[in-house]
Amino acid sequence: MKKDSTRKKETTEKGTLGETLRSRGVSRRSFMKFCATTASMMALPPAMIPMVARALENARRPSVIWLSFQECTGCTESLTRAHTSTVESLIFDSISLDYHHTLQAAAGTAAEAAREAAMEENYGNYLLVVDGSIPLDNPGYSTIAGISNLDMLTECAKGAAAIIAVGTCATYGGIPHANPNPTGAVSVKQIINDKPVINVPGCPPIPVVITGVLAHYLTFGSLPELDHIGRPKAFYGQSIHDRCYRRPFYDKGQFAETFDDEGARKGWCLYKLGCKGPTTYNACATTKWNNATSFPIESGHPCIGCSEPDFWDGGGFYKALSMPTENLSQTAVYAAAGAVAAGTVLGAMNRAKKNASNKIHIKTTVDDLQK
């Protein structure tokens, strides 16, 4: 009897998503709601909801192996925040997450055995998700169970159907890759050339974008259309600037010059405060964060361009894109003349900025905020 029930459970888990949901008592009407929300999450036009429903009905439960390398766990934090939603929970119930060393209960030898078993059982078909960059200078900078990140990635990539690089570290090297890149950090795509790699950058990526890419794979069994640097066009096809609700102020030449001037109070464009929206491609302006509550620009802060390559070395978060960056090579010349001189130059630049800000500074009071 026990054997039968176990077999039935296995059959259900390996069945289609439609079968799995029905076995859990999910009605067709609930399934339609799930499909509508999933289509919205994947940034598909609503006209495609019936197609999503047909595809999800017949989707099979894929095995997923998640590797975390040089990272801060922010990507996993972002993803698990998404998990509070019932619909997204269903997506995660619809995959078999066989290895994720932060989330799984098993540790050490047992955890590695689970990874190896999943790889063997699903060879050629599992989905490999990677967050974090890979250090090439010295394998000892980052290891898991004594295995270097490079060895683990190349070993796991061999049997993967596709690889999803999650977060800016995995997609472009991210903060570990920032100058002077002490660990020799590189991205997944700089190592793996013989498998499809989909880049889902962001520091961290929007949780719905992560689940949206998984949902696309689950729905259609293929990777979505990608842009020239491997990002899904559905989420990274348009710039933050083009989708920003403050864009009309840019078009009219109305800018905030400081964080507390009249322009900032009126919600004008943050371009002059260093907004990287014009050169950043992501879904923040429409998908937003925290259950579509807001996104940085809506909170009054410029976009820092975290989903773009080398965003950390882009020359300052608060410098307008049109302004030339301080010429660091020139600074190096001053440094050759004496470190104090270099410090003096940068200090003078900062003082000039501070003085300019002070001149137009208006103090904000609690009464102002409650107006």
């Binding site: 919205s40 939603s85 989708r243 009126k266």
Partner: protein, 134 residues
Amino acid sequence: MNTSSFNIQTGNELTWNARPILFEVRHALEELVQSGENSIIDLRSIPLAPGEEETIINTLGQGEVHASLDALGPSEIYETRYAGVWLITHYNEEKAVVSRFIEITKLPEILESQQEDMSNALVELTRDLGTQDA
């Protein structure tokens, strides 16, 4: 605190996207009236400033039909004051909005009884009646 009085991000100026969306609704309603074609607008795919979604919802108002659904969390479905224009809001179990659509149709499909559920219902009803007879 009344958050609507705490709007330091936008002042009184918005994206001006609310009105074009309402025109899109009008165009879709014209299609429905003339050719019976249904349309859906995903409100989460359009950049809107704080308060603009509310502007659209308030402009459409509420009509005669109001339905609630309990499927994977609650959903609220109602016909706006413009017949044939429905607002559908899906929530998760934590009551957070997960998706919101304007459907221009005679009746949103999600309100109709679904073929598969009806087939299951037939089996269950037959089984229950059989049990009672026994």
